[in-house]
Symmetry: C2
Subunit: 300 residues, 2 copies
């Protein structure tokens, strides 16, 4: 299970009912948050996201529209009596900002907050079901995107058939891993006979804020879903470059180059009330494009 729920699809300034960047990643294990613009905790309530299942929060960079909602969310976790540990990954100076604000408000967290300063590209998190790694994008200040990869899924056990052949339930987890079963008479039941292949592991890349950077294609190559910013329409390519952002068509070009399955575009400029144009433009280059909508969950 891998899915992305958009909490904010706007850039810089909230406008037209759209919010700054934040998205919830649903994994088989728990929820992750990618970026946390102002108002994220309200969006979490609006869309009935199970707050207590969020265990890891990743912040791409220190432009306000990507993290001004973090301190409020962490505070509310405290006020709601959260006790399970929480991990935050982001640029190093963020930790002091958070700790200072808690100190000034005389807040003592009831949960353990572990801050992981991102210092280089690479693996950030490795669980039983998935990994999260980060990669540098090209932005005005240091910025990183995140790549979630599911691990190889276990094989599916054909339970009735396995039981009929005399394989005990206690051995099923080993069948999932691909082992054969040795019968008491010395014969073996080969794994293929009692299992089928597991689901394909999925991959999702969140490319944060970035200039059009063809080299990113290598990093996000072949992912099932790529979220790439498209702050401006194609006509404003010059402005996009000046501000270290991308256009709809550039996002689509990157998706094509990287041969991803589906492209999700977002981080729309507040200047545009209607975002359909962004999707239409991108589709001319990469048909499998969707404009990210708030409150919508996209299966990876």
């Amino acid at each position: 299970m891998l899915a992305v729920t958009i909490l904010g699809n706007n850039s810089a300034i909230p406008a037209h009912g759209r919010h700054p960047t934040s998205q919830v990643i649903t994994t088989s294990e728990d929820l992750l948050l990618f970026d946390c613009g102002e108002g994220t905790q309200i969006q979490i309530m609006n869309y009935k996201i199970k707050r207590s299942r969020i265990n890891h929060i990743f912040i791409s960079h220190l432009h306000g529209d990507h993290y001004f909602g973090l301190i409020g969310l962490l505070s509310s976790f405290a006020l709601l009596g959260r006790i399970q540990p929480l991990h935050v990954y982001g640029p190093a100076p963020l930790e002091a900002l958070i700790r200072t604000q808690f100190q000034l408000s005389d807040t003592h967290l009831p949960y353990e907050l572990s801050f992981h300063a991102i210092k280089e590209d690479g693996l950030l998190l490795d669980t039983r079901y998935y990994t999260v790694s980060c990669f540098s994008t090209k932005h005005r200040i240091e910025c990183r995107g995140f790549l979630v990869k599911e691990k190889k899924k276990p094989r599916k056990v054909l339970a009735e058939k396995a039981a009929a052949l005399g394989i005990p339930h206690t051995f099923f987890s080993r069948l999932q891993e691909g082992e054969d079963y040795l019968l008491p008479d010395g014969k073996s039941i080969i794994n293929d006979a009692v299992t089928t292949v597991g689901e394909n592991p999925r991959a999702y890349a969140f490319a944060a804020d970035t200039l059009y950077e063809p080299e990113l294609a290598t990093i996000v190559k072949g992912v099932d879903l790529l979220y790439h910013e498209a702050t401006y329409p194609a006509s404003l390519a010059e402005k996009a470059a000046e501000r270290y952002h991308s256009t709809s068509v550039q996002a689509a070009e990157l998706a094509r180059k990287a041969n991803v399955k589906t492209l999700l575009i977002g981080h729309f400029s507040a200047k545009f009330e209607n975002i359909e144009e962004f999707e239409t433009e991108a589709k001319t280059v990469f048909p499998e494009t969707l404009a990210a909508k708030e409150g919508v969950t996209y299966l990876v």
Copy 2:
């Protein structure tokens, strides 16, 4: 002209569509903001407040529900190209927090941001039309309330009558100040004959977060409108005291003691979806009580 528009009437955690503390004060001259919880800039848009008329922002204390929206609002002012100066008044450590965040995001403000650290009770702002002063409340951390007082209003000139008596228009502003007019023949027209008394100057007090503190009554004595927090209903007086907050009935007692005209209660605990009870309870002690509603403007 003095009025208060409620942007947030909730305490601590946003809930039930209610937001953390923030209110806009409309004066004859400009707009003031008292506190700035997370999402204030969105509420400002929702209620079509003219952002550019906000010249002074006052922060009562450093609990997050009173200031987490400030950095976002200041950033958006920058992104929107604001050029007129802005004044922020609040606890001293707030300045470093703001400046650090702008530095980390490499933001260069196009407007002049003057930070005024509040170090003691007393006058903060003195304009042609009004003054704003601050007073200490009793809270878990250092906290101040704010008192806006209109200055004496000019007398109203009876324009037709004055003109008929031969008083030139250029003298009208002096009539407003109460002067008599000396005719060329040496006789004088006394001011009372061509003016009526100006409107009464109004006063509004925002008592921020506070324990029930009878001494506050002296400070807010006789104001036209008092905003006093009522985080809890009367039945939870013990909890209120523990957390340095007040109940509905305590707010009403203070209003009665201070002999104010109208009491506005707010900062309701997120535990309560229905806030009618707060108003009903308070009215048993002080009938002229209103529960603050978001988006509503209360004339002072």
